[in-house]
Amino acid sequence: MTAVTWVALGLTLVAAPALPGIVNRTKSLLTGRRGAPVTQLYRDLARLWRKGTVYSRTTTWVFRIAPILLLATTAAAACLLPLDGRSALLTFAGDFIAFAGLLALGRFALVLAALDTGSSFEGMGASREGTFGSMGEPALVLCFAALALATGGTSLALMFSEAPSLWSADGPALAMVAGALLLLTIAETGRVPVDDPATHLELTMIHEVMVLDHSGPDLAIVQYATALKLALFGTMIVDVLVPRAGLPVAASLAVWLVALGAVAVALGVVEAMMARMSLARVPRFLVAAGILPAFAIILLLGSAG
């Protein structure tokens, strides 16, 4: 844990809202529109932060605490990732479980908040979020397992700092893990083709319909936390793909930010090329995300044996 780690964390917190912007901008450009600027989310957040809040009379303190908890868990999860490519603020054997657990706690809070409103729409969204979240969980664990097998470490810091240097040996396995992480990023952050943040039909929504009742600063916190989550998943992809352990500190951070942007662009490309798929097909998408790292594990076990 060094100052660099803190700097990296700060950078993440600051840069995160830019990522959805990049995704949307890429998508717009590819579909022949100008689209909103990359900094759109910063503006939205600032505006929301200054707005008033309306709380439904049905809701309880759960609804009020949920956005805070969502952000807190995501931020705490950020402390576990080796954002600077070397080490994390907090690292211990098996911390990947804490990472997954923290994200799940945030989801749990948000789902409960949705149910707190007593609205059938938000209940519907909560149900979908919980369902797809639960099916993404094994895929995420398997990704970590594949990385652990490849690197021999059981902490996120070890996994992600070692992984990129193993491309020569375990390239196919790492590629599969990176692919799975990309699929998971799409699912976890509610991007096309799993979910469409820009849709206007509540019946087809997942994440957005769940936060219908949040307003003002609460909504800002939720949106910011989602962006932060995107940054975290993006960082994981970057850390699998890009070896930056050997680079000087500044270069490492720069490479990271650029790569993160590239991930966002990639997501934008996916969004531009694909249509939103039907809800019934989402489970298959998530199973695919799980099968990839499972194959990776089999490959790794085969090469080890």
Partner: protein, 657 residues
């Protein structure tokens, strides 16, 4: 050992007092609680001392039957389970005194208190018995005491049925144990555990048979799939504080049996480890899946017991693989995970069942679709129930997370071991899925029971339970929180248990579990970070909101003007997407009409396999019935036929000496 005996005697005395003072129910309840709590406290003293490293103690009971003395002893393994039994037991007793007060005029309350005392004592004896017959006697006492608690409300047919299914299942387990111990003891001079353990090396192929029989017998008690069939109904039927004991403690005795078996038989063969691991994973996934399909609160919680037994068994299976393939680290972590989760599950499941009992008393129903919005009416129940829910889902910073974290590490170390055990790493995926599904399920429970609008007037008029009820719940919730935030305080004790089970010296285990211990310290830091960031964000939002307007309004209904409570998402519909994904495996029949959507869960194993099998057995029995049709001449013919067959035998084998 003396405090243990004195404590158990006090507990028993409490039960007897409840019967003796049956005419003065208030006094009886108070005396019962005082005696049971003080008895449990007294008996806990030696258990805690053993867990902190004190020497083992044994005594012999003054029995005289064939097969050697009835030895009673406390090692770390016994002590660990004793803590859980007496701790949860005492709290459940307090809750139970309140819970049963409403039933006094229906009768049967004093007997139930007595049965409860018997159950606690029997549980304590099961884990401290160190001789076969003593163990079996305690085991059966436990089973029977529990049966009479389950059928407390025996006027209802479904309760009687649940009791009967339970009784037959537990008796089958007992019989299997008899066969197991019978097989085992044929090599031993007597039936004490010490003698049995001493001959473990000479068993040869019998060892595998013993492990197989033990797995089935103890698995029946623990409720692992597909032997869980008795569990949901039984747990749902019993009075809630008894459900807490059953789910929290009694099924753990099955786990205790498996651990004791491993401790006595030494390293199990690899197939056993794999079987346990796979059955654990299957139990975990199916348990939570079937839980999702339920809308009876207590039955749902019961299915979650199946799920958690699955998690424990995944840990135990990994540990057994570690022993089989001689990977000490894997053995240590796997068993540690199992042991820790046993304790943790007892705490949060006990808490949840007590909560369910409170809800049942406050609203008169356990049907999720009839509840709602209790968070406002029963704030303390809600907070404690929420803590239990977060814990059971395995989320940080509560205790469920800690044990799952250890189990995950065991599976990852299996993957890194470079042995055939590496395939166990796929168990991690199952654990991940279990966690995700559990989250969904408890979101459903918390959401439909406590949040939103009340679905019935009964739910709307609910009143918070008194201190006698929320006190025990709060204590359990605090324990969940404490073990989640400071897991380091129990890991050394758990390591001693692991040493007993795995047969590894305590100092080596200490070395092996050091990473877990240091990780536990980091988990504490993480909890602090989480708390800090939450506080910071809360302050930030507060500042933002101080400057802006905060208004109250109606829930946004996407433009629809007059939403009613009937439009709320129901428990059935909440779980529907997932149930759809798993199809037939989920064991649900769906009823979909234009106006309503409802799911009807089935007990897959009981309804689709055992009931038909039972009917087939009865039909087969009925086939024999015509032989007893009342005609004397026919009966005489049987005698003639029998003698003829015997004479034939005589003719064939009669000649030579």
């Amino acid at each position: 050992m003396t405090p243990l005996l004195v404590g158990l005697a006090l507990v028993l005395l409490g039960g007897v007092a409840a019967v003796a003072l049956a005419r003065r129910p208030h006094l009886a309840a108070r005396v019962f609680v005082v005696l049971v709590v003080s008895g449990a406290g007294t008996a806990l003293v030696p258990a805690v001392r053993v867990l902190r490293g004190a020497a083992l103690a044994t005594i012999e009971l003054p029995t005289q039957v064939p097969g050697g003395p009835w030895v009673m002893g406390l090692d770390a393994l016994s002590a660990w389970f004793l803590v859980l039994i007496l701790g949860v037991g005492a709290l459940a007793a307090i809750f139970g005194a309140w819970y049963l007060a409403a039933e006094v005029e229906h009768g049967g309350v004093p007997q139930t208190q007595l049965g409860f005392a018997f159950l606690l004592v029997a549980l304590a004896l099961v884990v401290s018995a160190q001789a076969t017959l003593f163990f079996l006697a305690a085991w059966e006492l436990m089973a029977l005491a529990c049966y009479f608690l389950i059928v407390f409300d025996h006027r209802r047919a479904e309760v009687r049925r649940a009791g009967l299914v339970y009784l037959v299942a537990t008796h089958a387990a007992t019989l299997l144990l008899i066969v197991m111990f019978g097989l085992w003891s044929r090599h031993a001079p007597d039936f004490t555990f010490a003698s049995l353990a001493a001959v473990a090396g000479e068993l040869g192929a019998t060892r595998s048979l013993l492990l197989g029989l033990g797995l089935v017998a103890f698995g029946l008690k623990a409720g692992l799939v597909p032997l869980h069939f008795w569990l949901p109904e039984a747990h749902a039927s019993a009075p809630s504080h008894v459900s807490a004991i059953m789910s929290g403690v009694m099924i753990k005795v099955g786990i205790y049996g498996m651990l004791r078996l491993v401790a006595m038989l030494g390293a199990p063969p690899a197939w056993w480890g794999w079987t346990v691991l796979i059955l654990g994973a299957v139990s975990g996934v199916l348990g939570v899946l079937w839980a999702l399909a339920q809308h009876d609160l207590k039955r749902l919680l019961a299915y979650h017991s199946v799920e958690n037994i699955g998690i424990i068994l995944v840990g135990l299976g990994a540990g057994a693989l570690g022993l089989a393939y001689r990977i000490p680290l894997l053995a240590a972590l796997g068993v540690l995970g199992a042991v820790l989760h046993t304790l943790n599950h007892a705490l949060f499941k006990g808490l949840l069942f007590l909560g369910a009992g409170g809800i049942l008393r406050a609203t008169g129903t356990r049907e999720l679709e009839h509840l709602g919005a209790l968070a406002r009416r029963m704030p303390l129940t809600w907070i404690t129930f929420l803590i239990g829910s977060i814990a059971i889902v395995g989320l940080p910073p509560l205790n469920g997370f800690v044990s799952e974290w250890v189990v995950f590490q065991a599976l990852f170390h299996a993957g890194l071991s470079g042995t055939p055990a590496a395939l166990a790493v796929f168990g991690a995926a199952a654990l991940g899925l279990i966690g995700g599904l559990a989250l969904l399920c408890f979101a459903k429970v918390c959401g439909t029971v406590f949040l939103g609008h009340p679905r019935t007037p009964a739910a709307g008029d609910a009143v918070e339970v008194p201190a006698a009820a929320w006190g025990p719940m709060l204590a359990l919730a605090l324990a969940c929180g404490l073990l989640g935030v400071l897991p380091g305080i129990v890991i050394p004790s758990a390591a001693r248990v692991v040493a007993t089970v795995a047969g590894i010296p305590a100092d080596v285990i200490g070395e092996l579990t050091r990473p877990a211990l240091s990780g536990a310290a980091r988990i504490s830091v993480l909890a602090a970070v989480l708390l800090g960031v939450t506080g910071l964000t809360a302050v930030l939002r507060a500042t933002a909101q101080r400057r802006t307007a905060v208004a109250a309004g109606a829930t946004w209904a996407c433009g629809y003007a007059a939403p009613t409570t009937r439009m709320q998402y129901s428990a059935s519909s909440f779980a529907a997407p997932l149930v759809d994904v798993f199809g037939k495996l989920a064991g649900v029949t769906v009823e979909r009409t234009a106006q309503a959507f409802a799911t009807h869960p089935a007990n897959v194993v009981l309804d689709r396999a055992l009931e038909p099998a039972w009917r087939a057995v009865r039909r087969a029995g009925a086939r024999l019935r015509p032989i007893q049709q009342g005609r004397l001449q026919l009966y005489l013919l049987y005698i003639v036929a029998t003698v003829s067959v015997l004479l034939l035998y005589l003719a064939v084998f009669g000649g030579a000496r």
